[in-house]
C-alpha cells in the first residue's frame, strides 16, 4: 500500500494575490491569419506593459509555431496530407474571409506593409524578445505528427490543458 505524502500548503500572503492583471494567457486555437495576427499584437503589447504572457498554441492555432520552411510534417499519410492542405508556419496562414486563393491575403500584407504595420512573423520575433512564452499543446502536436524539429526556436516544452489552466488561474485569459 502506498502512502501519499501530504505537504503542508504554503501560506499565501494576501498582498501577493494576483489581481488578474499581472499575467495574460492567450489560447491560440485558430490558424486564421487575422486571429494569429491579433494574438501576437495582444501578446507583444501585454509583454510591453510589463505583464507575464503565455500563448498556448493548440489545434490550427498550433501551426504558427511550425517553421516557415517545413513543407510537410507528420508521420503517417493522413498527417502528411493534412500538412499539405494546411501549411504550417506563421507566414503561411490564410485569411478566414476574403482570402481568394491568396490574393486577398497578398493585398492585406501589402496594405500592412504600406502602413508600416508589423507582420505576424515580425511580431512573433518581437514577442520572443519581450519574453512571451510560446507553449505548444502536446495533444495537438501528437495529433498532427509534429516533431520538435519542425518547430521554431525558443518554443517551450509541450504541455497539456491542465498546465494551461493552472497558468490561467487569476490571469487575464483570452481564447482566440
Amino acid at each position: 500500500m502506498s502512502v501519499a505524502v501530504v505537504e503542508k500548503p504554503a501560506v499565501k500572503p494576501v498582498a501577493a494575490e494576483p489581481q488578474g492583471g499581472d499575467r495574460v494567457v492567450l489560447i491560440s486555437c485558430s490558424g486564421d491569419l487575422e486571429k494569429v495576427w491579433a494574438t501576437y499584437i495582444i501578446a507583444t503589447t501585454a509583454a510591453a506593459m510589463g505583464k507575464d504572457v503565455m500563448i498556448f498554441h493548440t489545434f490550427w492555432g498550433f501551426l504558427p509555431l511550425v517553421r516557415d520552411d517545413v513543407g510537410t510534417f507528420g508521420q503517417n499519410w493522413m498527417q502528411k496530407m493534412m500538412s499539405r492542405m494546411n501549411h504550417g508556419g506563421i507566414s503561411h496562414m490564410k485569411l478566414s474571409q476574403m482570402n481568394f486563393g491568396g490574393v486577398g491575403k497578398a493585398m492585406m500584407m501589402r496594405l500592412a506593409k504600406d502602413k508600416h504595420d508589423a507582420s505576424p512573423r515580425e511580431l512573433q520575433q518581437m514577442a520572443r524578445d519581450l519574453g512571451v512564452r510560446l507553449v505548444p499543446c502536446q495533444m495537438s502536436m501528437d495529433l498532427m505528427g509534429i516533431t520538435k524539429d519542425d518547430l521554431i526556436e525558443g518554443v517551450e516544452a509541450p504541455v497539456g490543458a491542465a498546465s494551461m489552466l493552472a497558468e490561467a488561474q487569476g490571469a487575464i485569459t483570452l481564447f482566440i
Partner: protein
C-alpha cells in the same frame, strides 16, 4: 532645469503595437530615473502611452504634438 534625455526613439510612421512594443524594449536599457524621448505619428499612441504609463509605472512627463508628430518624454520608474 531640464533633465537630460538619455535616449531618443524615432518611431514615426509605425502603428500599433510597434510604438509601445519598441518603447518597452528600449526602456530596458535605461537606468531607473533616466528619461526616454519617443517621437510617433500614430494617433492611437496618445491614449496607448497613457495606458502603458499607468500600467507599468513609468511616468509620462511630457506629451506634446507638433505638426502631426507626438512627442512623449518618459521617466523610467525607480525599481
Amino acid at each position: 532645469m531640464e533633465a537630460t534625455i538619455a535616449l531618443s526613439l524615432d518611431l514615426k510612421g509605425l502603428s500599433c503595437p510597434l510604438p509601445i512594443a519598441k518603447t518597452a524594449q528600449a526602456i530596458r536599457g535605461l537606468q531607473p530615473g533616466e528619461l526616454l524621448e519617443v517621437l510617433a505619428t500614430d494617433p492611437g499612441s496618445v491614449p496607448d502611452f497613457q495606458a502603458w504609463s499607468r500600467s507599468t509605472g513609468n511616468s509620462l512627463l511630457e506629451q506634446t504634438e507638433d505638426a502631426g508628430v507626438f512627442r512623449f518624454v518618459i521617466k523610467k520608474k525607480e525599481s
